[in-house]
Every structure is written in structure tokens, then in C-alpha cells.
């Protein structure tokens, strides 16, 4: 860490000086690749702060003694402390401080729905509306800076070895966070991943232009540097039978995510050109089909693409379709714009890039050509009725409103549920709705002794930061369980 930082030149505060927060100033925008340019490449859209910009933004923070932002962050990152360190030019220390709370800051800084979490709670909103501190961008800055200027490995000493062996299943954010914490506590951790690269949805789902894969692999290397043994190509329940896992380890954390794609079960859904979002995303992200000439796995380049759904996934898919050269890429959503679950920034980015959004419309069947390829989707118009159990107004089909949208590609992005492989191979493991693993929300214990579970596997598809939080809290609970001489086991409430 020999790089000299002249904090005065960067506009920050010198050691010992008092900070004068500039909270009345506007929040500093992040530079973005121009929409016309970026739809021709896969490079990151949001470019990140320079050191000077990061310091300037950090100087707006009041470093509140009772920080509301920290309460709202699901993993309770000590936000005023790390932002204070940025203001004083201590970028590495800031990164290390964040690592105490979050093993994946470069990821969370990029993909967390901050506008609903830490940033929504920032006190500056009260006096300077819509201008909270850009906490996510600062978090990303620290992590990126640290990776760029150091080997990115864990520096602090670990606790002495406890002699306990723990198995973590799945290398998404939940599994990685849990493994990292358990390793820091001195336990020996083996982490098994079914795919050939660790990272879970961060590798196969979220596209390169929102979350560069090199960044995910750096976070993974950080977890490895803690001594976690990560083995890929191991499908627990097949390559490694569940019984061997139960016999071989003192405790187990199941973080197998929600990777099973939902389909609608309407006629024509198995035509060529109709994809589940997972297949489309896996081909493009994990198998790098966008890099023609490099990747072995093909993707058919869509010309007219219809994406069904309006969540995180649907917006990623529509933006990929545009980058693959689609002349028309359209979101079809059965409710109205107000109900769209996607992140504000993503919706805005997608529209800038030319995505069309057709609301209050639902597919009823797909039409194919003589070779079994999709040529159109028949949709039906909808209107909103009374609120349903989720509190959102229920879409009701309008009679005789069907019409055809011509297309050569359809991507069904209506959500995922957990894979049944582990539940169906683990006797006694209780699930809800078929495959969602039942676990206590405080202890993360399941109905099987010594087995804990968290992340999307127990909630259904959620967010990176909630999966991370589950991993961290489960690690604490597992540590207590391991150290308890009675190995007390409380079945989930």
C-alpha cells in the first residue's frame, strides 16, 4: 500500500482537522456510458467514482452518531465510519472496515437496491430531499480501490482453529458470506458448488454490464484467502450424497438458492426460441455467449424479442437482447407500471437503451412456424381489479382483447423457485410450497439436526444483501451451536 494519497489535494480532511460536512450540496452523479454506445458492448454501464469524486461525495456525510443508514442496511455496515475514512484519504482502511460486516462490498455497492435501504434512511433526505449520500457508490469505490491497489486478500489474522468441520452448499452470496464468517471464527470450511464457477446468480444471472464477472471472482478470491476450500463441479445430492455430507461434517449450511425456473404452462411454451430466463442468462453470462468466437456455447441472436415479466431478471434480459442486436426488445407485464418490481435505475437504463414496455398485457399462447420455432406470441389485455393478498391490485383479463406480437425470441422471466434436489434427498427436511426450505429466521436451523439453511433457498428469489445477511447470521448461530457442548438443536418455529 505504498501509493501516496494527498488528501488535501483530493479535497478531504487532514488528520486531526475537523470535518465540515457539505450536506446541502447535491449528490454527486456517477458517470455512465452513453446509452447509444453501451448497447453495442458489454462493459459496465455505471463507471464508478474517481478518488476525487469519492472524497467529494464523502464530504457531504454528517457522520451521524446515531446513523439511521446503518440501521437500514441489512448487514449493518458501519457507514459513518467507512465514509469518514474516505474523507480522510484512508481508502484501504475503509475497505477493511466494510469487510467486517460484508464479505461482498464490490458486489453490494453495485447491485443492492440502495434506494430502498441505506440511502432511503439517510438523514440528509430530511433537509435536502432526494439527495441522500451515495452510500452504495462509495462502498463500491472502496472495494474497487482496494482490489486495484492490493492483492485483495484478507489481511487480519484469523482466530485459532476450533477443529470443527463445516460444509456449505452453494457459492452464491449467502454461501460465500457464511463460509467467510465461519472461516474467520476458526472453523474449517468446505464449500461445494454445482456449476464450474463459483458465485451463484452473481455469475450466471446478473449480466456483465451491471456486475463484471472479474469483480465477482475477486470477491470469491477474498473468501478463498480466508482459508475456505471451494470445490466446483460438485452437485450435492448427486456427486456428493447428502448422507456423506451429514456424516462428514459437524454442521451444514444449505445455500442452494432459488434456481428452478417457473414457466407458465401455456400452449407453445416448448417451441424453439422460447427460453426460461435462466437458460438465456446462463448462455450469455456464465457461458459468455456474447463473446462470439471465444465461447463454445451459442445463443441465437434475437431480432424481435418479447420478455415476459418485469422484475430484476426481466430487465436484465431485455437489456441483453438489445446488446445482442435485437431491433425490438419488449417487456410484457400483466400489471401496471406502478407494480413493476424491478429497480428504478434498471428500468430507467433499459428505457434509455430503447426497451419497449407494454403493461397490462399477458401472454396466452405461442405460435410456431413449420420448423418448430416461435413466430409470435398471442397476448391478452388486462385491467386491474381489487388488491390481492400481496396488496397489489389483481390483473383481470379483458374479454376478446387478444392480439399477436410477432417475435423470434421469447424469454419467460416470471421468477424462480428453489431446486428440489436437496430437499428430496434429505429425509426429514421440511419445505413449504414444495421446495422452499423451512428454517428458523433467527437461528437458521432446519428440521434436520445440524443442518442450517438461508438465502433464496428459504425465502424464494430475493436480493443479494438479504442472502448475505442470512449467511452472516447463520454463521453466528452455527458457531454458537458448534461450541455448545450439548449441541442443542431447536426445531424451527
Amino acid at each position: 500500500m505504498a501509493d501516496a494519497i494527498d488528501i488535501v489535494e483530493l479535497g478531504g480532511v487532514k488528520e486531526g482537522d475537523k470535518k465540515k460536512p457539505r450536506s446541502k450540496e447535491k449528490r454527486l452523479d456517477i458517470a455512465c456510458q452513453d446509452a447509444k454506445e453501451r448497447i453495442h458492448n458489454y462493459n459496465e454501464v455505471a463507471l464508478g467514482y474517481s478518488p476525487k469524486e469519492a472524497v467529494a461525495e464523502s464530504m457531504r456525510c454528517l457522520e451521524c452518531p446515531k446513523p439511521r443508514c446503518m440501521v437500514a442496511c441489512p448487514v449493518h455496515i458501519d457507514i459513518p465510519t467507512f465514509i469518514g475514512l474516505i474523507s480522510r484519504g484512508k481508502f484501504h482502511e475503509a475497505a477493511e472496515d466494510i469487510h467486517k460486516y460484508n464479505a461482498l462490498p464490490a458486489v453490494c455497492g453495485r447491485v443492492c437496491p440502495q434506494e430502498n435501504l441505506c440511502e432511503a434512511a439517510c438523514i440528509i433526505n430530511d433537509t435536502n430531499p432526494h439527495n441522500p449520500i451515495a452510500i452504495g457508490r462509495l462502498e463500491r469505490f472502496c472495494a474497487d480501490y482496494h482490489f486495484l491497489h492490493s492483492d485483495g486478500e484478507h489481511a487480519a489474522p484469523l482466530k485459532p482453529a476450533t477443529g470443527y468441520k463445516v460444509c456449505v452448499i452453494g457459492s452464491g452470496p449467502s454461501g460465500l458470506s457464511c463460509a467467510a464468517d465461519l472461516a474467520k471464527m476458526g472453523h474449517k470450511v468446505d464449500l461445494f458448488e454445482a456449476l464450474h464457477k463459483p458465485g451463484g446468480v452473481m455469475m450466471y444471472g446478473i449480466p456483465e454490464f451491471r456486475l463484471p464477472k472479474a469483480i465477482v471472482q475477486k470477491e470469491v478470491n477474498y473468501v478463498r484467502s480466508l482459508g475456505v476450500n471451494i470445490e466446483c463441479n460438485v452437485v450435492v445430492g448427486r456427486t456428493l450424497p447428502v448422507k456423506e455430507v451429514l456424516d462428514g461434517y459437524d454442521a451444514v449450511y444449505v445455500a442452494s438458492g432459488a434456481g428452478y425456473p417457473n414457466m407458465m404452462g401455456i400452449p407453445g411454451e416448448n417451441l424453439n426460441g422460447v427460453y426460461s430466463a435462466n437458460e438465456f442468462l446462463t448462455r450469455v453470462n456464465l457461458m459468455q455467449a456474447w463473446q462470439e468466437g471465444v465461447a463454445g456455447t451459442p445463443i441465437r441472436r434475437p431480432r424481435r424479442c418479447v420478455v415476459v415479466g418485469a422484475g430484476f431478471t426481466a430487465f436484465d434480459v431485455v437489456r441483453i437482447a438489445l446488446r445482442l442486436g435485437a431491433q425490438e426488445a419488449r417487456i410484457v407485464y400483466r400489471r401496471s407500471r406502478d407494480e413493476m418490481p424491478g429497480r428504478g435505475e434498471e428500468i430507467e437504463h433499459a428505457e434509455q437503451e430503447g426497451a419497449i414496455i407494454t403493461v397490462l398485457t399477458n401472454p396466452v399462447k405461442y405460435l410456431g412456424d413449420e420448423n418448430g420455432f416461435v413466430r409470435a406470441v398471442v397476448v391478452q389485455k388486462m385491467e386491474l381489479g381489487e388488491p390481492d393478498s400481496s396488496g397489489r391490485r389483481r390483473p383481470i383479463p379483458i374479454k376478446d382483447s387478444e392480439y399477436e406480437i410477432p417475435c423470434d425470441t421469447v424469454v419467460v422471466s416470471i421468477g424462480q423457485t428453489p431446486n428440489v434436489l436437496i430437499p428430496s434427498n434429505m429425509p426429514g427436511l421440511k419445505t413449504r410450497w414444495g421446495s422452499i426450505i423451512q428454517a428458523n429466521r433467527e437461528t437458521y436451523m432446519t428440521t434436520v439436526p445440524k443442518v442450517f439453511a438461508g438465502g433464496d433457498a428459504i425465502t424464494g428469489a430475493a436480493t443479494v444483501i438479504l442472502a448475505t445477511r442470512a449467511g452472516r447470521e447463520a454463521a453466528r448461530s452455527m458457531d454458537a451451536y458448534l461450541r455448545d457442548p450439548a449441541r442443542a438443536w431447536y426445531p424451527p418455529a
Binding site: H196, M263, N270, N278
Partner: protein, 284 residues
């Protein structure tokens, strides 16, 4: 990494490889497959585990050079090299119990995958009648191995250069017409062959099972790319199969889906070929 311990050419374009994959070898059951990646940017392709040796930690795969990845494996990978990824054993194992007499049909490349199935069925106390079919004599392989795990074996060749002239379905029909006892039929081979068997046996009332070879990516139920209608219901071949009741398969859909990437596959192969030609021109 998964080291290749041996490689040999069984017939033109048919390669047998043994690969170090101890975890896979330890748990393999008949009918299961692995997903193989040649290198970091390669495709994930499904190949049946044709044999396994848990002591040595090895599995055997047999493949036909048909496209980009299989040709690359055949031409550029040798004993001593390593494969980037081998994942398995995947899929639901073939249902093995004492049925009585089981006719097991292997066509072309399908001869390799029926070896562990015949072996398993025989160990379970069945009478195993194997029918193996090839295009011609010079494409024959593993018939000796099949003979060692079956009670009776019939060989057919399309051109009559060995055994009976004709297709496996001809031999099957002959057996049936001769009044042979059949409690179950299992057929593995090119989809056209499996469909032909299915059509033949439909009226016989003999339970017939096939192993579908759809396009796959993950092999764990995550992508849905392998899906096909079975008895009116969408199934994922990699986890619900690959074995299915032949009479319930939507063969039209199965054929259409297998051609889903024909154009892209041809382009990939041509691109590979052009690279190689350019590379050779450079060397000269």
C-alpha cells in the same frame, strides 16, 4: 482438473476415454451421465457414463465426433491432458429390478450407454437380451463387452456386413414375432431409432423405455433448456430423466428441439475449421 488416463479410437469417429473423476466414479449408477467441459470457454455437453471404476476413481465415456466440442475432444485431447470440468453423476438412474426378460437395444453410439444397464439388470437377476445395431462392420465396437453382460445378443448392420442385415427394429420385430418373452424393452440410440422402436412396441403392450438426448446446459434442473413434453406434461430431461416411457414422449417436439441450434452449431464448427486452416497456413 480431470485427467484423461487413456484414449482410443473404437471405430471411425468413435472415441473412448477414461477420465479421473473419483467422486463421480464412487456414486455412478446405470443410466446416469456427466456434463463435460473441454476448456474454460467450452460448451457443457452431456455424455453418458459408459463404465466406472470406483477403485481407480475413473469413469469411461464414449462419444461420437459430431460437432464442435466432440471433434475438439477427439482431435486435441489425449491421455495425460485434463478436462476443465466433469460434473456428475447426473440424472435419475435407470430403474433396475427383477422384471424377467428385458430386451435392451443399443443403436450406434447407444451401444456404450447400454453396457452398465445390461450389467445392472443381469445382476438384478433378469434375463438380458441385447440387440446392438451399427451402420456397418467397420463401425462396430463394444459388442464383445455387451456379450459379456447379456444372456443373448443379436447384432445388426444396415449393410449386412456383419450379423443380420437391417435395423435393430427388424431384429426386435423378428424376436417378437417368434414369440419371445419380453417384460420390458429399453432402447438407447439416435432419436429416430428410439422413435421407431417406440412405434413398433406401442401395440404390443410391452413397457418401453428410452433415454432422451436433448440439448442441455447445466444438467441440474436450472435452465429448462432440456425440457420436453412427456404424457402432456413438461419434464426436465436432466433431472426427471433421461429415461422416459417411450410411448409418452412427444417425439415431434423432441426432434424440433434438438434442431434448435443447428445453424449456430454449424457456424461454430465452420469458424473452428477456418481458424485451423488459417493457423496451418501460418505455420507453413
Amino acid at each position: 482438473m480431470y485427467a484423461i488416463t487413456s484414449k482410443r479410437t473404437l471405430a471411425k469417429g468413435v472415441i473412448e476415454m477414461t477420465v479421473q473423476a473419483p467422486r463421480v466414479a464412487a456414486h455412478h449408477k446405470p443410466g446416469q451421465f456427466v456434463i463435460v467441459m473441454s476448456d474454460e470457454h467450452g460448451e457443457r455437453i452431456p455424455l453418458t457414463i459408459a463404465d466406472s471404476d470406483p477403485q481407480k476413481g475413473e469413469i469411461t465415456i464414449v462419444f461420437l465426433e459430431v460437432g464442435k466440442t466432440t471433434i475438439q475432444l477427439g482431435e486435441q485431447f489425449n491421455a495425460g491432458d485434463s478436462l476443465f470440468a466433469v460434473v456428475g453423476p447426473l440424472g435419475t438412474p435407470t430403474h433396475v429390478e427383477k422384471f424377467g426378460t428385458v430386451v435392451v437395444i443399443g443403436g450406434g453410439l447407444g451401444v456404450a450407454p447400454i453396457y452398465p444397464i445390461c450389467k445392472g439388470l443381469k445382476e438384478a437377476g433378469n434375463r438380458v437380451v441385447a440387440i446392438v445395431g451399427y451402420r456397418s462392420k467397420d463401425l462396430m465396437f463394444w459388442h464383445d463387452r455387451i456379450a459379456s453382460v447379456s444372456d443373448e445378443m443379436l447384432v445388426t448392420t444396415d449393410d449386412g456386413s456383419f450379423g443380420e442385415k437391417g435395423l435393430v427394429t427388424d431384429a426386435l420385430a423378428k424376436l417378437h414375432d417368434g414369440g419371445a418373452k419380453m417384460d420390458r424393452i429399453i432402447a438407447i440410440g439416435p432419436p429416430v431409432m428410439m422413435r421407431a422402436v417406440s412405434e413398433k412396441t406401442k401395440d404390443w403392450g410391452v413397457s418401453t423405455w428410452v433415454s432422451l438426448n436433448t440439448i442441455m446446459i447445466d444438467g441440474t434442473g436450472m435452465c429448462g433448456g432440456c425440457r420436453v413434453h412427456i404424457g402432456g406434461e413438461t419434464k426436465f430431461v436432466c433431472v426427471d430423466g433421461p429415461d422416459f416411457d417411450a410411448h409418452k414422449v412427444d417425439w415431434g417436439e423432441m426432434f424440433a428441439r434438438m434442431k434448435g441450434y443447428a445453424k449456430e452449431e454449424r457456424m461454430a464448427l465452420e469458424a473452428d475449421h477456418k481458424c485451423k486452416l488459417a493457423f496451418e497456413a501460418l505455420r507453413r
